[in-house]
């Protein structure tokens, strides 16, 4: 099943994107780890969504529908024979290249390319419309199953091993102190009186924030890094110098200036979608980027989890 989905996604991606999929040298090792990572992420998301039993049941049914639909695709005799032919052509080309250094066989290359094109064409003619229609329909049903608030949570969800703080320990009514790390860090910065120490601490924090942003959020050029570093240092010094009243008033703004630029992330995502759309205007009819589809309409991951969840008796209840 997993293989089947990968194939269909490869097809869709190859239709909408010119760049081939890049294989990591550690792909094999990662695939096994990814298995658990994906499942833990979905479990964290499900815990944070507070889905009712009816909602879980409905999502499970939608995943069964996807599974059934993909089975049809898997059993299509034309696809099976095209796939076998393509595999044979690729194998032939591979062996030729292996045994004939610095040579190429245009005939074999042409055969493989033609077979690839034929598969794409076949898929486009036979399945693309159907698949788009199918997924759009499923996505609509899934969006109807969830509440707008749940969709908002899914849309902002990032795969994770440890759920975000909002899921683990959400802000509570009447809670005075936040245990946010950045707030605590700012409190410590505000306590520093020695200007030299302040300078050192600001530098250290700025470097840390830039490294995290660069590694986990988006790549930054050297110029961007310098600008961001200056901005962070300036912000921290401002936080240190503000009166209590002004600091309390500006705390949220200061935190926003120190954290990765979410507007930039949003812009990057929009640009990627625009690029795809320019290449193939029809491609976004199936919203591959929809987080609801990505996290909750993925049969190999979601079906076993929801099946299990629905059999476990829910804890709690009034005594």
């Amino acid at each position: 099943m997993k293989e089947l989905i990968i194939i269909s996604i490869i097809f869709l991606l190859s239709l909408i994107s010119a760049s081939p999929l890049k294989a990591s040298p550690f792909q094999d090792q990662f695939i096994e780890l990814k298995y658990y990572h994906d499942r833990i992420s979905v479990l964290n998301l499900l815990n944070g969504l507070n889905l009712s039993e009816q909602q879980m049941q409905k999502l499970l049914e939608l995943n069964y529908d996807i599974k059934k639909f993909l089975e049809k695709f898997k059993n299509d005799p034309d696809i099976v024979s095209l796939k076998a032919r393509y595999k044979k052509d690729l194998k032939e080309l591979y062996e030729y290249l292996l045994n004939h250094p610095e040579q190429e066989d245009k005939r074999l290359q042409g055969k493989a390319v033609a077979c690839n094109a034929k598969m794409k064409e076949y898929f486009k003619n036979e399945y693309q419309n159907e698949m788009e229609k199918f997924y759009n329909n499923i996505l609509k049903k899934a969006n109807k199953t969830l509440t707008p608030e749940q969709i908002e949570v899914v849309n902002s969800f990032k795969p994770c091993i440890v759920p975000p703080k909002d899921f683990r320990d959400p802000v509570r009514a009447g809670q005075a102190l936040s245990d946010s790390r950045i707030k605590k860090m700012l409190e410590n910065v505000r306590k520093i009186e020695d200007p030299r120490r302040l300078e050192t601490v600001c530098e250290r924090i700025a470097n840390k924030i830039i490294n995290i942003t660069h590694e986990r959020f988006y790549k930054m050029s050297a110029d961007e890094k310098t600008n961001k570093r200056n901005e962070i240092i300036q912000t921290l010094k401002q936080a240190n110098a503000l009166s209590d009243t002004d600091y309390e008033l500006k705390e949220d703004e200061i935190i926003q200036r120190l954290t990765p630029d979410t507007a930039k992330l949003y812009k990057m995502r929009k640009k990627a979608q625009k690029d795809i759309l320019e290449r193939d205007p029809k491609s976004l009819d199936v919203d591959l980027t929809s987080p609801v589809r990505k996290f909750l309409l993925d049969p190999p991951v979601v079906i076993p989890i929801l099946e299990k969840r629905l059999t476990i008796e829910r804890q709690g209840g009034l005594r």
Partner: protein, 387 residues
């Protein structure tokens, strides 16, 4: 050897009589010094006493007693406090026979946050409020989520040098909330803040446990526009177990606030193994319906492990859902689930047409389907202050 003398080599030699005389003189000298110091203290206050009398604000609601003792009349504990000692709540201290409010103008926490964090759902939803609190509380709840502040004295915590007027002017806020610890222990500060807020035409909200005597309550009510009162259990036994105080004064407070016409919402933190019994929830719901009306919002809050109950699990969703069902079954119109989101129990539904009239994601109000204070779908008047 002569018994009148004791002799030790290398040491001065005293007769017994001389020794007694010396002891008497020393005693008299020490006593005289003490008296002299006391007299000096009377005319020139000591270095320690000077800032106290200068920076402290005299408390309201206390009675002077003999031997510099005072009786605090703020809460039903009515504690008699000796000179130099503080009240149970740690917010009031007897300095030489006068009770002072230690937390006056000394907030230890200030946040600019949604008004819904009170929790308060029917009072100008979607607006930003300035929430502040000073250390100290007259309860000792097992699950206190702000125990670092509530279970300490204002003298022990870092305070914020807040200028309320400046914060109100610059903060873009629509109300002021006194919360986190119990503002019922700080009537002087509540009144001071309320006076400043009134200058800017801002309503004042109090989030309190309601353990307060009638007279101070009546005085505070006149300065406050809305209350979120916690009703922590519905039996005296459970109240004592969870909070260390009796239930009756809290019920009296809730009824009195309702009678005053000020806006009221009730909050119950549902703690597994303590107040999560069906009978208790049913009794609480019935009490609210019969005493303060079915249109009083009731928040059933999720407990998360804190303070002395760190070994308990958070309240399961099912428990809160069942408790909400019981509340609705008892006839209450607005029963909410708080501290658990997203959940359908976060929203406000019209009791007439059952449509969703206020959509929330946690404490964030997303959409209000109302015309003024009326349901947009059926026109039913929804109690509260809307816009």
């Amino acid at each position: 050897m002569d018994p009148e003398y004791c002799h030790t080599e290398g040491m001065p030699i005293f007769s017994r009589r001389e020794c007694l005389r010396l002891m008497c003189r020393t005693g008299a000298g020490l006593a005289a010094t003490q008296v002299a110091l006391k007299a000096l203290d009377w005319f020139i206050p000591s270095a320690q006493a000077r800032p106290l009398s200068k920076s402290l604000h005299q408390a309201m609601f206390f009675k002077k007693m003999s031997r510099q003792r005072v009786q605090c009349e703020l809460c039903p504990r009515t504690m008699i406090i000796s000179a130099g000692k503080s009240c149970f709540c740690r917010t009031r201290k007897n300095v030489k026979g006068t009770l002072y409010a230690l937390g006056f103008d000394k907030p230890c926490v200030v946040n600019f946050e949604p008004i819904e964090r009170g929790p308060l759902y029917h009072f100008y939803p979607g607006n930003k409020t300035m929430s502040l609190g000073a250390a100290g509380c007259n309860l000792n709840c097992l699950y206190c989520q702000n125990y670092e502040l509530a279970q300490r004295s204002p003298e022990e915590v870092k305070t914020i040098d807040l200028e309320p007027a400046a914060a109100i002017r610059k903060g873009g806020i629509k109300s002021v909330t006194i919360t986190y610890t119990d503002p019922a222990c700080q009537p002087e500060y509540v009144i001071e803040i309320a006076k400043t807020a009134k200058k800017y035409n801002l309503p004042v909200i109090l989030c309190t446990a309601g353990y307060i005597n009638f007279k101070p309550l009546e005085h505070i009510i006149s300065f406050v526009d809305a209350f979120a009162v916690t009703l922590k259990a519905i039996t005296d036994e459970m109240y004592l177990k969870l909070t260390g105080v009796h239930l009756e004064p809290v019920l009296r407070t809730i009824k009195h606030i309702k009678k005053s016409g000020k806006w009221l919402e009730i909050v119950t933190l549902v703690v597994p193994g303590y107040n999560d019994d069906r009978k208790g929830i049913q009794t609480a719901a019935t009490w609210i319906r019969d005493n303060v009306g079915k249109d009083t919002p009731w928040h059933l809050s999720r407990f998360t492990p804190h303070y002395k109950l760190t070994k308990l699990p958070p309240t399961p969703r099912k428990t809160l859902e069942e408790a909400r069902k019981e509340g609705l079954k008892a006839g209450l119109d607005y029963v909410y689930i708080t501290n658990l989101a997203p959940h359908r129990g976060n929203h406000t539904y019209c009791p007439n047409c059952q449509k969703k009239i206020v959509e929330r994601l946690g404490f964030k109000t997303k959409k209000i389907n109302m015309n003024g204070g009326d349901c947009k779908f059926c026109g039913k008047k929804i109690p509260g202050k809307w816009s």
